[in-house]
Symmetry: C2
């Protein structure tokens, strides 16, 4: 069984584990690392560094938000091209053959055994670690608010994107709508609900898997990556978004967080 | 961390792992075992053997169905009074203080640390093992149909229950409605939809956690335990329910199983 060949893969890192704030921050596309066991998938350095391999700027922004909000941060340490942790194992996008302008030769016509190996080595341990953080909080009477942090490329298939902050929801729109209202009121960003992607594009798997079963408030944030391209920009974005998230949570009310479970 | 004190607890057993049929059978309340690390929770032998501690007959029935359907079986090895695997960690029912006529002294006013310990030692490994079975099938292009097998007591708080086979669904009623129709057509059982419990009673946590995020067809079966009280009765019930499940799956159509993921 592949599951028994436990490698010391940096699949998941949990920071600020003892944090006591209401938010739990997740960054699935934090890294463009290609561990030796998977190789480079036939990609040149250009593709390995491009937005198709990871979400540039997302990890430093997620970390700054986690620190400002006294939140735990769960992040991935492996490129999304090896396994996209925001996709189920039966999705073509989980181990995609192409992403925007790049083909991924190492993912062409993957055998079932290799899809299972990546599921065992990447998808399952990442989601088990995140599930454990959520379940332990629930066991102690806390209901975490799940916020995933992503970035997107300013130009996609040659077309310029105007949206700067995308706010995406799955079945429960409450927190996303509150974040939209507060972001419009408190920032100068071009904010849009369910842009540049929406649940219909299959981008809410993590929310559906980890937040919805417990009725936890949740939202996916997408920041245009040219706005978080260096440390100064990241710090400014975090400073802008921290009060947005706090005010959004106040707006939906602590009642939503404390909704009694059966 | 409690998670690091890994005990050889019989939290979860997987049988027929290499089975190739479409069903994946789950039995959360299979056992009335009280491992030493948790003790007897202050219960006398009567309570430890009663339906409040487990679902009598459910495991042999689940095993007979798994064999007849060429299905994998995932079952728990610990009493539901230590942790009810069909409840989230923030639910009072996960580590209940009383169940029907029995009080559970060892669960009175549990500290957060003990709730987390049981979550770490029971809830998380069971659900991780089940999640792995589901995810590995998805990775290889199969979409398992999730069937959980439970039993209920004929007399509850002194009242006799007429229902013999309860068929319970969560958000997606397709398979449950098909099972109801086939069970009525093919058996003499008193069959009811969402009796003696329903999702409103919080009994569909496992379906919500493991099946719904992947859009997998799913159903919870509740059999009155006097109908599966010995090996002969179990064999007869399995013989009756096997064609019901197969026909129900045909009824909803393979299309439901093969619904493309994004």
């Amino acid at each position: 069984m592949a599951a028994k060949t436990k490698l010391a893969l940096p699949v998941v890192t949990t920071e600020n584990r003892e944090a006591v704030g209401p938010f739990l921050i997740v960054c699935e596309h934090a890294s463009n690392h290609f561990p030796r066991t998977f190789g480079s998938l036939g990609l040149e350095a250009e593709a390995q560094n491009a937005h198709v391999a990871w979400d540039p700027g997302a990890l430093p922004l997620a970390r700054a938000l986690a620190n400002a909000l006294d939140a735990t941060l769960v992040s991935a340490g492996i490129s999304r091209l090896i396994y996209d942790l925001n996709r189920p194992p039966n999705s073509a996008g989980a181990m995609t053959e192409r992403s925007e302008l790049f083909e991924v030769p190492g993912n062409f016509a993957l055998a079932a055994a290799e899809r299972q190996r990546r599921t065992d080595l990447v998808y399952l341990p990442f989601h088990a670690a995140l599930h454990a953080e959520i379940a332990r909080r629930l066991a102690s009477g806390r209901r975490p608010v799940i916020v995933t942090v992503h970035s997107f490329t300013p130009i996609y298939f040659g077309t310029r994107r105007d949206v700067e902050l995308g706010i995406i929801h799955d079945a429960d729109p409450r927190l996303a709508e509150a974040v939209l209202a507060e972001a419009k009121a408190r920032t100068g960003l071009n904010c849009r609900l369910n842009e540049p992607y929406s649940a219909a594009d299959g981008v809410t798997h993590l929310l559906r898997l980890q937040a919805t079963p417990y009725g936890l408030p949740n939202v996916m944030l997408e920041i245009r990556n040219n706005l978080i391209a260096d440390d100064v920009a990241v710090a400014a974005m975090a400073e802008g978004l921290t009060p947005v998230l706090t005010a959004a949570l106040d707006r939906i009310g602590r009642a939503a967080m404390e909704r009694a479970a059966v």
